[in-house]
Amino acid sequence: MSEKQELLVLKSKTTEMPYHWSVGREGAKFLQELRDNKKIFGMRCSKCGKVYVTPRRVCGPCFTPIKEWVELKAEGTLEAFSIVNYKFIDPNTGDIRPVPYTYGYIKLDGADSTLSHVVSITDSSKLRAGMRVKAVFNEERHGSLKDIKHFEPINGK
C-alpha cells in the first residue's frame, strides 16, 4: 500500500431514527392535566410517603406500586442550576441546540423529587440555588413537558 494512502471518512446519510415512546398511564395523566388544566400532579408512595413529581408506576426503593395523586403548586424552589454555554448537537433535531440556557432542578412545593426544566434567566448574578420560582405555561399546549414554557423567579423572593 502506498504510504500516502488517503484516509476516508464516510458521513452518514440516514441519521434520523424515529421513535414513538409510550408515556405510560401515569405519565399520560400527568401530561393530560398539564395540557388541559395547567395543573402539575405528583404521586405519593404509600410506603415511604415520598411525593415524586415525575410520575411513575412504582417507587424504586420500596418496589411498591404508586396509586395516589397529589396536586402540587406550580411553584417551588430552584434546588440547583447550571448555565449551559457550550455547543453541542441536539439529538432531537440534529442541529446545534441554542445556548446559553439555564438548566435547573426545581423542587415544587409538596414534592420530594425534582423536575428538570429551564429557567428563564441566564444572568448568573440573578440566579442562586434556593431561589423561589414558578412555572409559566404556554398558551398552546400539546401534552408534553414543553407545555411549561419555563420557570421564572418569583419577584422579591
Partner: protein
C-alpha cells in the same frame, strides 16, 4: 405503522445524530481504487490463504494482519439473492421489486452484498448465475461506487 395515539400518551420524536465513520487505511485503499480506477481489490491471509473481499486488515480466524493485496476481476458468481417487494426510502432509493445478492468474485473466498441491476425478468435471476460489476459514473469512494452487479452470459 403504529397507531397515532394522542401526544400525551405517545411521544413521537427522533434520535438524529451525525456520524463520521472512519474507513481505516485498508478500507480506504479499497474505496480509492474503486473510485479512481474502477478496480476491486481484496486482501489475502498469509496463513489460511483466503482472499477477503471486501478487504479486511486482519484475518478474523487466523488473527494475523493481511498485508497482501490481490486485484480481482469484476466478475463472479451469484451465491444467493432475494427479490425485495417493499419500499424503504429511509434506507435506499430502490423501487420494488428489486434484487439483493451476495456475489463471490472470481478468486475471492468471501462474498459482497449488493444490488443485482438491469434485471428484465425476475425469473432469470438464479443462484449460481454469472455476474459482473457495473460502476457508477460519479464515484465518491464508497461501496455504492459499484452501481450494481448485472447478470452476464
Amino acid at each position: 405503522m403504529v397507531q397515532q395515539a394522542e401526544s400525551y400518551k405517545v411521544l413521537s420524536g427522533r434520535i438524529k445524530l451525525p456520524y463520521q465513520w472512519t474507513v481505516g487505511a485498508t478500507g480506504s485503499k479499497f474505496f480509492t481504487e474503486l473510485r479512481d480506477h474502477k478496480k476491486i481489490w481484496g486482501t489475502k491471509c498469509p496463513e489460511c490463504k483466503k482472499v477477503f473481499v471486501p478487504p479486511r486488515k486482519t484475518c478474523g480466524t487466523c488473527f494475523v494482519d493481511m498485508g497482501e493485496w490481490v486485484e480481482l476481476r469484476p466478475t463472479g458468481r451469484l451465491e444467493t439473492f432475494t427479490v425485495v417487494h417493499y419500499h424503504e426510502p429511509a434506507l435506499h432509493g430502490m423501487e420494488p421489486p428489486f434484487v439483493y445478492g451476495i456475489i463471490k468474485l472470481d478468486g475471492a473466498d468471501t462474498g459482497i452484498a449488493h444490488y443485482i441491476g438491469e434485471v428484465k425478468d425476475l425469473e432469470s435471476v438464479k443462484s449460481g448465475s454469472r455476474v459482473e460489476a457495473v460502476f457508477r459514473e460519479q464515484r465518491e469512494g464508497s461501496i455504492l461506487d459499484i452501481k450494481y452487479f448485472r447478470l452476464i452470459g
